[in-house]
């Protein structure tokens, strides 16, 4: 099963002719992603890695009605426009790779997408991968392996580190989602936990949190209150972070007394979630949880 992304999912790449867009189009095609079209305004008629380029998402979807997902590699100033264009054109899943989008812009397109029933992953994220099927993102595909553990993370490289450790320990992933490091992600922990709950092929979930905001605390409460049926293992990065300082990600900041790692770790523990002290402990915790 997996969630969000399948082998069949038809994809359009927005910003396909750019350096990032073309590089990752090649990598995604190599992984098996079904990229049907690309979009760069003014470059309609060209081709990138054999993928036809259109001037607009509407035109791309007219020619390829099977497109239901988009991945956006457009610079921060133009990314919101690309999101709205994709929503208007009827795309159902939008992965926004772009980093550095002003949070007021993100707030608007995230709300608008939600009101229109469109799922956004990101911005400032590595994307989504369903190992062995399709990759809608910039993660190195080889560290992932098909399996039964769902991964939800606010981080990029740390996710690859953890996925790689899992893979080496023989624990594969059903789907792995990097929700992005910005303060307002399009899709949060709870929505994805819900999707994994309904996915019969997912037997356990890894949550990789970090300082900033209270998404981990809310997820912990959701797990406790909903009687979440699958084991959850968590890791929270940023125990050394001082208050008021942005730790790389725009969202990784302890502010107004909210968002430190201890609060999140405590919340997870109180919700019965196994918390790894080091990323390297996750495979072992998962093995134990899956055996039960």
């Amino acid at each position: 099963m997996a969630i969000l992304l399948r082998k069949e999912t038809g994809v359009v790449v927005q910003g396909i002719t750019g350096r990032e867009g073309s590089f990752h189009t090649k990598a995604m095609l190599g992984y098996g992603t079904r990229i049907l079209a690309g979009v760069t305004p003014g470059k309609g008629g060209q081709e990138v890695e054999g993928v036809p380029v259109y001037d607009s998402v509407v035109e791309a979807r007219e020619s390829h009605p099977e497109i239901t997902a988009s991945i956006i590699f457009v610079p921060a100033r133009f990314a919101p426009d690309a999101v709205y264009e994709a929503i208007e054109a009827g795309v159902e899943l939008i992965v926004v790779i772009t980093e550095g989008i002003p949070v007021h812009d993100t707030m608007r397109f995230v709300r608008y997408a939600r009101m229109n029933g469109v799922t956004i992953i990101g911005p400032n994220c590595p994307g989504v991968i369903t190992p062995g099927e399709s990759k809608l993102g910039i993660m190195p595909g080889h560290v992932f392996k098909k399996g039964n553990v769902g991964v939800i993370s606010r981080s990029g490289t740390l996710t690859y580190e953890i996925a790689y450790a899992m893979t080496r320990a023989g624990i594969g992933q059903s789907t792995a989602i990097g929700i992005g490091g910005d303060p307002i992600p399009g899709t949060g922990f709870i929505e994805l936990l819900r999707m994994f709950e309904e996915d019969p092929e997912t037997h356990a979930v890894v949550l990789i949190g970090e300082i900033g905001g209270d998404m981990e605390e809310r997820a912990a409460r959701y797990i406790a209150d909903s009687g979440y049926s699958k084991p959850v293992v968590a890791y929270v990065a940023g125990r050394t972070a001082p208050p008021g300082k942005r730790m790389g990600h725009a969202g990784a900041i302890i502010s107004m007394g909210v968002g430190d790692a201890e609060s999140k770790i405590r919340a997870f523990k109180e919700a019965g979630v196994q918390v790894a002290e080091l990323p390297s402990q996750i495979p072992e915790l998962l093995s134990k949880a899956l055996k039960r």
């Binding site: 949070v103 606010r154 580190e161 990065a237 050394t240 972070a241 107004m256």
Partner: protein, 377 residues
């Protein structure tokens, strides 16, 4: 990006929020002259970006220009939580009947502006949220609709203001909301918003934080960004790295914010103390890596270096070349642990080992090694 109080007060004025008369001074003479122009009693206030200036003695009332000058002499140059006072605000003293709190934050959980209001102003809002949450009204604003009359009525009622103050609250809240939206604020706060003895409202302190990602559309702010940084922070900013200083002695360089934090956490768990957060980002080439390594080699606090790279878009050979180049130009030698994994790993390892740098395979092992080395210095 945090704004100084006086910058916030200037924004307030621009958005129709009433503020007392004030001037900015950077010498005792200027402070005394300002007090003379303002007439009567004034407040002399240190301009710092950290909190707690009141308790640190950074706010004083003066009854005469001479006294304002004396206060200024004492406050200028003061260090408040590590921040040196370079500037003062000299403001008209106000006859206060009540102190209120009014702020707007960009709330992450609802993904929308959230108005915070409390009849108990002048205190730390975080503290109030812990002790008396029922005394804080939280009311969200739908960004597609903006501030509506019903928000204003709700806030005015909660602030226990008489019906005839409602219009003034409306003006202030509308101004604050426009300020918040038009300046891409994460926080725009009036604390305290005072009710004067004559019933009028006045904003007498400001706290404003602007989203760093939005600075490209606020050129007048972008110019001023980074002004509070020390030389290492400024250099890291120039090079385009995310960089934060801590109190430890192990300099950390990684790719990716999450991995950097996790690396620092691992150091901590294994008994060490990181000196910094330094994320070189994705896909860094040799020259960028060289810049990062050189920065920490020159930093007195980082006694040893711990470089942890998981290559994806980032190529390990480029990282290795950057490290070697930096070491070649460095004046001081420092202990160093390198963990390198991923794209072009073999090539990177070869380059480093040819230059006498041992490469560790696993992150925990590398961190343990770094902690050991740090104990020895």
């Amino acid at each position: 990006m945090k704004l100084y109080e006086y910058e916030g007060m200037e924004l307030f004025r621009r958005y129709g929020i009433p503020v007392p008369g004030f001037e900015v001074a950077s010498s005792p003479e200027e402070a005394a002259e300002a007090a003379g122009r303002l007439g009567g009693r004034v407040v002399v206030k240190a301009q710092v970006l950290v909190g707690g200036r009141g308790k640190a003695g950074g706010v004083k009332i003066a009854d005469s220009p001479e006294e304002a000058g004396e206060h200024a002499r004492r406050i200028l140059g003061m260090s408040i939580r590590g921040e040196r006072v370079e500037r003062l605000v000299v403001a008209e003293a106000v006859d206060i009947a009540r102190e209120l709190y009014l702020g707007i934050i960009l709330d992450r959980s609802i993904g929308a502006p959230l108005i915070l209001a409390s009849p108990e102003g002048g205190v730390d809002i975080e503290e109030l949220a812990r002790t008396k949450p029922e005394r804080i009204l939280k009311t969200p604003v739908e960004p597609f609709l903006g501030l509506k009359p019903y928000h204003i009525r709700r806030v005015a009622r909660f602030l226990e203001l008489p019906p005839d103050a409602q219009k003034q609250v409306g003006q202030i809240l509308s101004g604050l909301y426009r300020l918040f939206i038009e300046n891409d604020c994460e926080l725009a706060e009036i604390n305290p918003l005072v009710v004067k003895k004559d019933g009028g409202l006045l904003a007498i302190d400001s706290k404003i934080i602007v989203d760093d990602n939005s600075l490209y559309r606020h050129p007048e702010l972008q110019e001023r960004a980074g002004r509070e940084m020390n030389k290492y922070e400024a250099e890291a900013r120039r090079l385009g790295f995310s960089y934060v200083e801590l109190d430890g002695n192990i300099g950390v360089i990684c790719n990716g914010a999450g991995l950097t934090m996790a690396t620092m956490d691992t150091v901590l768990v294994l008994g060490g103390r990181p000196a910094n957060f330094l994320d070189i980002g994705g896909g860094a080439r040799a020259d960028r890596v060289e810049g990062a390594v050189s920065l920490l080699l020159s930093h007195p606090k980082a006694k040893i270096l711990f470089i942890n790279i998981l290559g994806g878009i980032t190529r390990c050979d480029e990282v290795a070349r950057g490290i070697v180049n930096a070491l070649g130009k460095a004046e001081a030698k420092k202990g160093m642990v390198v963990r390198l994994k991923g794209t072009n790993e073999e090539e990177g390892r070869r380059i480093l080992e040819e230059n006498g740098i041992h490469v560790v395979d696993e992150m925990d092992e590398a961190a343990r090694k770094a902690v050991e080395l740090a104990r020895e210095v």
